[in-house]
Each structure stands twice: as C-alpha cells, then as structure tokens.
Symmetry: C2
C-alpha cells in the first residue's frame, strides 16, 4: 500500500511525531497499521520506546526517510503512526463536551488536550465541522486525541435523542455567570460550545442551562479554546 | 515613504484588517501615520467608519490596492493602519501579567485578548521573546493589543527592581492550587507565566507565591493561552 498526504476521505490517518505516536500505540495498538521511522531518529529515546513496543505487539515498523518527510512535511519528524479510523460512541454516565460546528484545527487540538487534562474524555462533535482526524488536530492535542471517545452527529437533536446528560450551554447571552454556578454533581453533564466566530445560535436558547463567562466590553468574545478551558476547569476543579 | 512587508527592526508596524485598524485609531490616533484602503472595501461599514474618523482627526488615507495586498498577504484585507512604535511603561498600582520568554505569536495575541477581557491591560514581556509588534500578534489579539501597555525587560530582576506588586508565579511545581488561592485584593499583583515549552525555570522557585492549575497526568501541561485564561479568570472574576 502506498501512503499519501492525508485527505479527509481516507479511512486512515497519521500521528506525526514521536510523542503523538507513543500515545497512539499505548491507547490504540490494535488499530495501528504501521509505524514509519526517519533514520535520523535512531538514537532518540522515544523512537527506541516505539520500536520496542511495536516488536512486543507485532506492529510493523519501516524506516523510510523519503515517506516520513513527505507525509509530515517537516525535516525533523522522526516517527509517524498510521492508524485506521474507527467509529466511536460516547460513554453513558460520564460527563461530555459537545462542540457545535468547530472550524479551526489548532483550536480543536488545544480543546481536546485541555478537556482530557481535566478528566473529560467524551467529545461530541456536531457537523459541519473541521475534520477531527486531521493530523494537525492530533498534533495540536499533543496526542491527547488518542485518549478520547469522539462521536459525530449531524445536528444537536440527534445528540439529545441519544444521551441524557444535564445540558449546559456556553453563550454570550447566558443568564448564569460561570463563577456563581452550582452544579448537581450526582448527574452527568454535557457542556456545549458553539463555533469560534458565531457561537451558539438562537436555536439553543431553550436548551439546557445557559451560562456565561463574565468579561468586560473591551473585547467581543474570548478565544474558544480559552473559553473551554475556563469553563471545564470550573466544572471539574472540585473533583480532580 | 515606501512601506514594505513588516520586519522586527522597523520603527513602525501595521494593523491588518478593518477591526484592528478601528481599535488602533480609537486608542492611538496620534501615533497612526496613515491608513491604507483596498478599493473593494468601499462599501464596508467599518471602512466608512475608518474614513470618517481619519477625516475628523487629520489622518492620511490612501487607497492603494497593490500595497494593501502586498502588506497583508491576503486578498480580502480592506484596511491597514500604519503606526509608529512607542516605548510604553506599565502603570504602578495596577495589576500586571508578566510573560517570560513567550515564543508563539498566535498564543501571544490570544493571551493579550484574554487578559484585556478580564481587565488586565499592563503586560511585562521578558526577553528573549517573540516580537509583540508583529502584525500577526496584533491580529491574534483582535486589536486588544492597542488597549494595553506593554513594556519589555531583559530579565525578570529588572522588572522586580522597577515594580513592587505582589508576585504570583504559575508553575507545574507550584505549591498552591489555583482553586484554593485566597488573594489580598488590597495590593496590586503580577501573575508570571513561563515559556510555552519550558515553563518557568528553577530560578523562579524563590520568587513570590508559586501556584499551580491542578490537572491529571493524562497530559503534560496545558496550552499557555488556556493556562493564562484560567488563572486570570480566577484572579479577576470576583471584581468584574
């Protein structure tokens, strides 16, 4: 099989770099098809760890300078993991975040890294959305992508029909300031975030509890990844 | 004068786009040398606001399609403000943030936007650091750059010699979890953040109060802009 620069329609994707590839192997050894190495990384400790792991688990390793440079578009990428995309479901009875129409790959990676760090590993993505399997998202997540369940929905009603968590929506017109919010911690919750530019539309006005992060009028809004970090930190910081 | 693609050594810089240019004009009309417009933006409401403002304040406006496209490297940039760099000092008796060796322009812009939204407009930058005047930083800040005082220092001691705020340092080995932190709100404070990759070095161990944002071991660290957002939100959310 010949591997080409990633495209959304492929049924596989890549972890670019040593650290994300270790995360891929440790979390999804069975869906890892192969690992590609760059010869310059032979002395790298992480690369040695990768080779050892692959030998133990019977995963193919190929040293291929040209292909690694081509797929990573970088000179200093030492390892690439090739893995098949699997459809995933979210865990019932756990907390979720739902991202409605996320459109920025870097932001999505940062969001994944952030929520995993605060213990939320179930992520609903409402389409249209940026391709979460794009290697740039995975790299931006620093490999935290491989510790999550990500499930895609065509609209938010589809998500509501399937899961029964308490819903909190972050909105500029939310009535409940985040810092005054009291949670019912006995029930799993889902925090819903809108698109980077447009936020959540009016159709979310009657869904769940609308919350807001109070900030002054010197700025229009917070960056989405920053808003997710502040919100999820507030929701989880009593329970870590 | 012929204007060229921005370089760090120039004594002027650019606001790229309608929104950042309006922020430039409203906050620093006296240091604005000129505004360049793209003819395609003639019907744009923001552009009209710019032209009106410039006429009132005697600021030169030039329509120059070629130069706007060249300086912005984009096809859809309608306005560019050209402003001279001014050395700034931080306000005594106000809260500050200090960024030690920030290295990512996008992150720096997001950080500026975030802290301005929470009411902190005095930013110390400890060199070596990314060029805060780079148009990418200004754009990343959504123009909030123009609402700040930014002062540069060659090392942190130089900052300490000059300002007398209470110091809080965000560190992975900080002893005080952010969510348990009680502040003395009668004294101005400075929150210190390290570099994106390496954080604050050992030389900060004995400076001020070390704080930490508790997260699990599934990630190495939080993204810097997210960490700044969570921390500054916590410090300021009682006072907005």
């Amino acid at each position: 099989m010949t591997y080409k620069l990633y495209k959304k329609e492929y049924d596989y994707s890549y972890s670019l770099g040593v650290f994300p590839t270790i995360e891929l192997l440790q979390n999804h050894p069975k869906t890892t098809e192969k690992v590609l190495l760059h010869p310059n990384g032979n002395e790298n400790q992480g690369v040695r760890k990768i080779v050892e792991f692959c030998n133990q688990h019977g995963i193919l390793v190929e040293t291929n300078e040209k292909l690694v440079s081509k797929l990573s578009r970088k000179d200093n990428c030492y390892a690439i993991g090739i893995f098949s995309k699997q459809s995933m479901s979210l865990s019932n009875a756990e907390n979720h975040i739902a991202l409605v129409n996320p459109s920025d790959m870097g932001n999505l990676g940062t969001i994944i890294r952030t929520v995993v760090g605060f213990g939320i590993t179930n992520i609903a993505i409402i389409r249209p959305a940026v391709d979460a399997y794009n290697p740039r998202v995975i790299r931006g997540s620093m490999g935290a992508f491989f510790k999550t369940n990500i499930q895609f929905f065509d609209n938010f009603q589809e998500y509501l029909d399937r899961y029964n968590n308490d819903i909190y929506t972050l909105r500029l017109n939310g009535l409940r300031p985040l810092n005054k919010l009291k949670l019912n911690v006995n029930r799993p919750y889902t925090i819903v975030f809108g698109n980077e530019g447009s936020g959540l539309g009016d159709d979310f006005d009657d869904i769940g509890t609308g919350i807001v992060i109070p900030h002054n009028e010197q700025i229009d809004s917070l960056n989405l990844a920053v808003a997710v970090g502040i919100t999820v930190h507030h929701f989880t910081n009593c329970t870590i």
